[in-house]
Amino acid sequence: MASTAYPAPAHAPAYSAEQSGLWSWLTTVDHKRIGILYLYTALSFFVIGGMEAMIIRAQLGAPNQHLVSAEFYNQLFTMHGTTMIFLAIMPLSAVFFNFLIPLQIGARDVAFPRLNAFSYWVYLFGGIFITVPILFAVAPNGGWFGYAPLTIRQYSPGHNIDFWVIGLQILGISSLAAAFNFLTTIINLRAPGMTLMRMPMFTWMAFIVQILLVLAFPVITIALVFLLFDRFFGTNFYNTVSAGADPLLWQHLFWIFGHPEVYILVLPAFGLVSEVLPTYSKKPLFGYPVMVYSGILIAVLGFGVWAHHMFAVGMGPIADTFFGLSTMLIAIPTGVKIFNWIATMAQGAIRYTTAMLFGISLVALFTIGGISGIMHSSPPADLQQTDTYFIVAHFHYVLFGGSIMGIFAGIYHYFPKIQGRLMDERLGKWHFWLTFIAMNLTFFPMHFSGMLGMPRRIYTYDSGQGWDLFNAMSTAGAMIFPFATLIFIYNFFKSRKSGEISGANPWGAGTLEWTIPSPPPEYNFAKIPTVTTRYPLWEGKEADHESARVNSQEGKTPAQLGIVMPYNTIKPLFVAAGLVIMFCGLISSRAFIGIGAVIMIFSLYSWLLSPLEPEHH
């Protein structure tokens, strides 16, 4: 194994003068900066979603409490779910899609840098749009899955659901635009020699996620369009009252999106862990091809399991059997990954860094979540489990134990690459252990209260049903999260300012992103590398090392290297703003629709008719 260490510089490279200041951030089209924007925004929403959860747990800590009204409680659990899924986990994955994909495939940026910026601004504005209402107690209150006909105007007359429908519609645009971008990037901008089967596993998982996004989001778009039309224009799609609409239409459309969505939520974390475990085991990922194929299989099967969310609605034996079977089948490729991760670690030279601890915890915690998941796959068994806390336990184990732990692994692992400094390991371990304990203490008892019949989405409960102890434990566990999170936030900002300088490859990792300085120069690679293996820094030939040597040098400007950088531009932000203003017009004055349309179309034409970058030959 060739030497991978480059001497750490005396100071972290800084951005050039033109690239600092608020305006440079508002006009950036650099995937690395956009990734950082996503990071701060997503972490903020993660904290907000966490606070919503804290209030929920405070309310449920003991029986018959009335800290919040039933109505407000509905808003809390709706926004907790909506925030965590759409404003925290997906954007946290987007942090890594943005920052990492071009670096891992040896590209200078994504295929459409301005579209990339657009995706971020739409996310930010949409996130604000859907979050502000809770401050005025008019937040969405129909559950994160907004079942119709509960959410039609007749049964949800206020503005709450309007914010939800419109907010999700806006956020969907952000995700779809990003998906087209990353899909094209991965297909078309890989460095020479980087075949699909040489791509780092994170990029592979990201690739699969983009395909899922492209196929799943249009379906929820239409489901939301139907709801929007029903609520605003009086159509009949979900009008079970007088028009004979089918109460299951929403559920089917929603879950055709909803199930691929959960793989969208977890596959990026899987990809991150597939980078972390090999690095700190000093071994390549075990069974790379199998990991690829299982990811593809999960995506394909993921479109064929959706009605397992509907086992209690009475679809009939054929449907129940089919979806029960397909759900059991999908456990296989997922389980295969667990074994491959374990095999990666086996007989490796393990270093228990914070990133590694989070990575290992995903393997364990996701397995627990997977076990409860397979229990739901049997329709008769699910009849007892559905709509109870047993399900809540399941999805928190896969989403927190899976996605969140994996994302934290990624943050600790890639923080040096992003910031040029290492996070404090001691604080990191505190963060990890507190989080691990909090997570298990909060969610494990829910298996029991769920099995004992505690329903979901109730704002309080009577004593004497056997649920008190478990709820008290969950609340106690939840109370630990703020401390863990504060430690993380403190570590994050402290390390940004004064963490130990990391150098290009502090972990001795093997893939392309570690061949360039930390933080990377604007152009990423001084010279586009030629790739001959999956781990250029571990198994590479002379050409790989030469590329790495050239690309690790610092201090070169694009001009010196003859590299043309794209223009900064405010246009994507304006198009995003125009779009969101248009949507706002549905709830407030209709004039906004016109104003927003004008801003959007004008900025869009301006964007499309101006060049991405200066002329060059």
């Binding site: 379906v219 064929g304 001084a526 010279k527 050409a543 010196q560």
Partner: protein
């Protein structure tokens, strides 16, 4: 100053034409003759479909729906292969299109079954 630094964004090893990055892959363009023949076929199929619609005995029969589905699938394929020149383009585009088309079709069939519009004999 590292003299290896490339003057362009192109990698050192881009062997000139191997990845001839000039936007369009050189391929055979269909000619005017192909185009008007395709248009004629599409028109004829449409005429056939509408004609069939006005034959009550055929409409009432079991063959009507399958026939129409096949005819429109044919039109669909012809437009995609020739006008959208999927037949002549890089294989990637065929994959990019057939994948979603397959998922979409299966979803449609699944929904039809789940809402009771698709009957088939079980046992």
């Amino acid at each position: 100053m590292d003299t290896h630094a490339s003057a362009t964004n192109l990698p050192d090893s881009a062997e000139g034409g191997a990845h001839a990055p000039h936007g369009e892959v050189e391929h055979v363009h269909p000619t005017w003759s192909t185009y008007w023949k395709v248009a004629l076929i599409l028109t004829l199929i449409t005429v056939a479909e509408v004609w069939a619609y006005y034959i009550p005995s055929f409409v009432a029969g079991r063959g009507f729906v399958p026939t129409l589905l096949i005819l429109s699938a044919l039109k669909f394929t012809i437009v995609v292969m020739f006008y959208m020149h999927l037949k002549y383009d890089h294989r990637l585009f065929r994959v990019l299109f057939t994948g979603p088309l397959l998922v979409a079709s299966l979803t449609l069939l699944g929904l039809m079954f789940l809402f009771g519009h698709l009957y088939f004999k079980v046992m």
